[in-house]
């Protein structure tokens, strides 16, 4: 039987832990609010951009712009978006598992796979297992800005044009609601009209395919700005999605932890009181027994 003192210490320790998790939950909730506003604001723009690009990709001559090219894909790149910090439940675990699964899938098809990683957690995981990491960005989620997106989008477009990879997929957590995240695998390069854009853009998709666009200024000039911009915007959206999802996940995880700590405290306190009472009873018995013996 543990001593009363050790039980008291245990209760104190649980209480401390609970204080910490509670504080973390509050912080996460505050951050969630901010990042949620940001992603909800950024979404329509990003989706419209996609819609326009997917429409465009059906109409233009794909060879007319290096970023629209479709190559026979042998080299795949996967951009894995994880968080920089832990303590957010299954957030990183889910991403990592999905990515690993996806990589294996590609490899069985005889494709070469490289990874680009955003976030410290994912980097650590894949580095420990010495998977091929081409590029990594860490520590960007503290101060997330459009500059990061320009940086990342720029790097990816550049490498696509250079031919470092033929296809690019992103694995990230989509922010569904404050307590729900969804792991998404999305193809970024090359831009595909029919598959993944279709569902999102049923409005514009309904318009008849064929018939060419009019451009102002001319096609090349317009595509030169529009297409890179598209990738920056998408990168930005993905970063925001992930940031919001991370805070949501952390909040949920910390909420659970706080509740668990509360339960433990209750349990141990009950046990502590029982033990204490037992000790008192025992002492009383001793005294009574002693008094009896003196008679």
């Amino acid at each position: 039987m543990p001593s009363l003192q050790s039980l008291r210490r245990k209760i104190a320790a649980f209480k401390n832990t609970q204080k910490i998790t509670k504080a973390m939950k509050m912080v996460a909730a505050a951050k969630l609010k901010r990042s949620q506003d940001r992603i909800l604001a950024a979404r329509p723009y990003a989706h419209k951009m996609r819609g326009v690009l997917s429409n465009l990709s059906q109409r233009v001559n794909r060879t007319s712009h290096p970023l629209l090219q479709k190559r026979e894909g042998k080299r795949i790149e996967i951009l894995v978006v994880t968080s920089d910090r832990g303590l957010c439940g299954g957030f990183n675990g889910n991403i990592v598992r999905k990515s690993a699964e996806f990589v294996r899938q590609c490899e069985t098809q005889g494709l070469t796979v490289n990874l680009s990683i955003i976030g410290r957690k994912g980097r650590d995981y894949f580095r420990r297992r010495s998977w091929p990491i081409r590029q990594e960005w860490t520590g960007i989620f503290d101060k997330l800005s459009f500059e990061h997106a320009i940086d990342i989008g720029g790097d990816l477009t550049e490498n696509f044009v250079k031919g470092t990879f033929d296809e690019l997929y992103v694995v990230y957590n989509e922010f569904k609601s404050a307590i729900q995240q969804r792991v998404i695998v999305e193809k970024l390069f090359p831009i595909d009209a029919a598959t993944e854009f279709g569902a999102l853009q049923s409005g514009t998709q309904g318009a008849a395919v064929g018939g060419s666009y009019l451009y102002e200024p001319d096609e090349g000039e317009l595509l030169n700005v529009l297409v890179p911009k598209h990738f920056q915007i998408q990168a930005y959206r993905i970063l925001l999605e992930s940031a919001a999802a991370e805070h949501g996940a952390r909040m949920a995880a910390m909420d659970g932890a706080t509740r668990n700590a509360g339960q433990l405290i209750k349990k141990v306190t009950l046990y502590y009181n029982k033990t204490r009472q037992a000790a008192i009873t025992k002492e009383l018995m001793d005294i009574v027994g002693g008094a009896e013996a003196l008679k």
Partner: protein, 139 residues
């Protein structure tokens, strides 16, 4: 049937407008263009300028600072870097911005600075013009 066009204006900050309208006039980089229902597919970049749209016989105004417009027979999507509805522009601030930009232009400086000042003057004037117009329209 005359039909309507769905006008959607988005900026990186938010979805500013999504409305059925009768006619849109937008500031294309190579000149203003008007869109009526059934317009052919068209993609244009936009310059600093004024976007007008008519719905129920009333013209409404909006300032656009760069962006793109995609036109399909039933829909106009405007992706602007910055956009503001005329009603939302604070006319006092717009006036101040005009003055500030003018001063900066007067003060002179490096060519790049001048260029920047020129642009902000253009932006400020546009916002003021649109705000003025909205006010007249309402009174």
């Amino acid at each position: 049937m005359a039909g309507k066009i769905l006008l959607e204006v988005v900026t990186p900050e938010k979805l500013l407008l999504s409305q059925e309208v009768d006619e849109v006039i937008a500031p294309g980089s190579e000149g203003e263009f008007g869109v009526l229902p059934g317009h052919c597919h068209f993609l244009s970049s936009l310059r600093i300028g004024e976007l007008r749209y008519k719905s129920q016989e009333v013209w409404r105004y909006m300032s656009i600072l760069w962006g793109y417009a995609e036109v399909t027979p039933t829909k106009v999507t405007v992706m602007a870097e910055v956009a503001e509805k005329a009603e939302d522009i604070d006319i006092g601030r717009a006036q101040q911005a005009v003055e500030k930009a003018e001063q900066r232009l007067q003060a002179g400086g490096l060519p790049s600075e001048l260029k920047e000042a020129q642009i902000s003057l253009e932006k400020a004037r546009l916002r003021k013009k649109i705000a003025d117009r909205a006010r007249r329209g309402h009174s």
